[in-house]
């Protein structure tokens, strides 16, 4: 009897099950994740090597736009403060720009709308595989960072958001290359209309050379930091913290 059981076990583990169960237990091992994740460093290095700092993502014509732009992630930020701001058209909203800057800023939405802006029709690529093309208008992030004056120690720009999954707030971060990229804007309009609530009103980051989860919605505060280690889960973004997603989402 014991022989039969062990034989069955042996056959089971020698089959395709070996690979499958092996990959599953390996997928849960921190060391294996670390080794597999080394490819992320390689991908980022390779892409940065062939990608100029200011090389633009393709921009499309109005005729190329999706008729229906899929809403994904949080459709709203479910806090009393956010509901109040939404109800009065974000009249008392102030974007905070702080952290490692010389002059922390608090900018009302009306003031942001009066600043030089950029309009771009770009393709939004979700990590899940779908794409949608839409038009975005907003303030170049570089303009705000220059107005605030980044200190030399600043390495990353963090987007703090009003939305959350359960009790965990959403946030995202990029390095200064993507933060200063000409197409990186804080969008306050989509397809010619004020940014609708499900798409991240009042402000949504557009990081056009990376995947959708980097494009933080409901942005309340932009913070310059030297390291991502001390923030939230320490990996630079909500999905990076909770779900093993890559911080560099260029692919």
């Amino acid at each position: 009897m014991s022989v039969q059981v062990s034989r069955r076990k042996l056959i089971g583990s020698l089959g395709a099950g070996l690979l499958l169960s092996g990959c599953d237990s390996w997928s849960r091992s921190g060391r294996v994740k670390h080794v597999l994740g080394s490819a992320e460093t390689l991908s980022m290095g390779a892409q940065r090597l062939i990608l100029g700092e200011a090389t633009l993502a393709r921009e499309y014509a109005p005729a190329d736009m999706s008729s229906m732009f899929r809403v994904n992630g949080n459709r709203t930020a479910d806090t009393p403060q956010y509901r109040r701001m939404l109800a009065n058209g974000f009249a008392d909203f102030r974007l905070i720009v702080d952290g490692l800057v010389r002059r922390p800023l608090e900018i009302p939405l009306e003031r942001l709308r009066a600043l030089p802006h950029r309009t771009q029709i770009t393709r939004h690529d979700c990590v899940e595989g779908w794409s949608a093309i839409g038009q975005w208008t907003g303030v170049p992030l570089a303009l705000l960072l220059d107005a605030a004056g980044l200190l030399d120690q600043a390495r990353y720009i963090v987007f703090h958001c009003a939305d959350s999954f359960g009790a965990t707030p959403y946030y995202e971060s990029v390095d200064l290359i993507d933060a200063r990229h000409p197409q990186t804007i804080l969008a306050y309009a989509m397809n010619g209309q004020p940014l609708p609530e499900p798409y991240g009103a009042p402000l949504r980051a557009r990081i056009e050379r990376q995947l959708g989860y980097k494009h933080a919605k409901f942005v309340m505060r932009v913070e310059a930091v030297a390291s991502l280690a001390g923030l939230y889960g320490g990996r630079g973004g909500y999905w990076e913290d909770v779900g093993d997603y890559a911080w560099y989402a260029g692919i």
Partner: protein, 284 residues
């Protein structure tokens, strides 16, 4: 093929153990066995995150998909255009080894990891994508330098004559395999399929994969023009992966029919026993 000289230097005859596959070919073959299996299964994991395929630049749930795998009620289905094929139990609705029912597209036995995790699927996929690309480029380079491509893989003009091609197709259909020294050279159907995989299918898979990357599209916008947009590239990537599966199935069937022990040994040690008559060949 490493040239096929028998160890003694005398002309090869049936029964001789001769050198067949170079080290570079053997290394690449087994690296690819691991890389392609992991890439395919982790690719199916990634597909499960959005089991719909489109043509053009964009495509999401509100847009028309040319292929969709899903579950509706108690049934699983694959829909191609307007045609629905019932796939309950295998695709779109299936039960895992713990008895749990899922409406994901591909079942847990076909994906890496076996549980649903897009992030882990991507970690496995991109790690082994680098393995495939680095090994593939190294093999390309080596195979031109050591003239494997020019000497063993390039078909001769005589082989490409319709009559010869037809004869080769008939021989394959009758499962009539070459014996003696003739078994050392690739036949023309082998040459054409190996060249197609090496220089068409694998580059297509890599380039359509890169076209799904927003950063690569910024760096090389011609990728979008070549493949007709990001969603077309995603569809072509999926199709090319299944063409590669088709090649692998035929390849394994041919290995089994031609004498699996001898064939697999020649891909491990490089040594191949020349088949004699069909009876002798079966004994190897």
């Amino acid at each position: 093929m490493a040239g096929g000289e028998p160890a003694s230097g005398a002309p090869a005859s049936p029964g001789d153990l001769v050198r067949r596959h170079r080290l570079s070919t053997r290394l690449w073959h087994w690296t690819n066995v691991v890389a392609v299996v992991v890439l395919l299964m982790s690719g199916l994991s990634i597909f499960n995150a959005h089991p719909r395929l489109y043509w053009g630049e964009y495509g999401a749930n509100a847009d028309a998909a040319w292929l969709q795998i899903g579950g509706e009620g108690e049934r699983g289905f694959v829909q191609i255009g307007n045609t629905r094929i019932a796939t309950t139990g295998v695709l779109g609705r299936w039960t895992d080894e713990n008895g749990r029912t899922s409406t994901r597209a591909f079942p847990s036995w076909a994906t890496i990891p076996g549980y649903y995790s897009l992030a882990m699927g991507r970690l496995w996929h991109f790690f082994f994508a680098w393995v495939l690309v680095i090994a593939g480029l190294a093999y390309w380079l080596t195979s031109f330098v050591n003239r494997h491509v020019q000497r063993d893989l390039a078909p001769t003009r005589a082989e490409l004559a319709p009559r010869h091609l037809w004869q080769d197709i008939r021989d394959h259909a009758r499962l009539r395999f070459p014996t003696g020294a003739a078994a050392l050279r690739y036949n023309v159907l082998q040459k054409v399929s190996y060249l197609a995989v090496l220089f068409v299918l694998l580059p297509l898979i890599v380039l359509t994969g890169l076209t799904m990357s927003p950063a690569m599209d910024a760096a090389w916008p011609w990728l979008l023009d070549v493949f007709g947009g990001r969603q077309s590239a995603r569809s072509l990537h999926f199709i090319a992966a299944w063409l590669l599966v088709g090649f692998i199935i035929v390849h394994i069937v041919m290995v089994v029919l031609a004498g699996p022990v001898n064939e697999i040994r020649s891909m491990i040690t490089g040594r191949f026993r020349l088949p004699g008559t069909s009876e002798e060949a079966r004994l190897t």
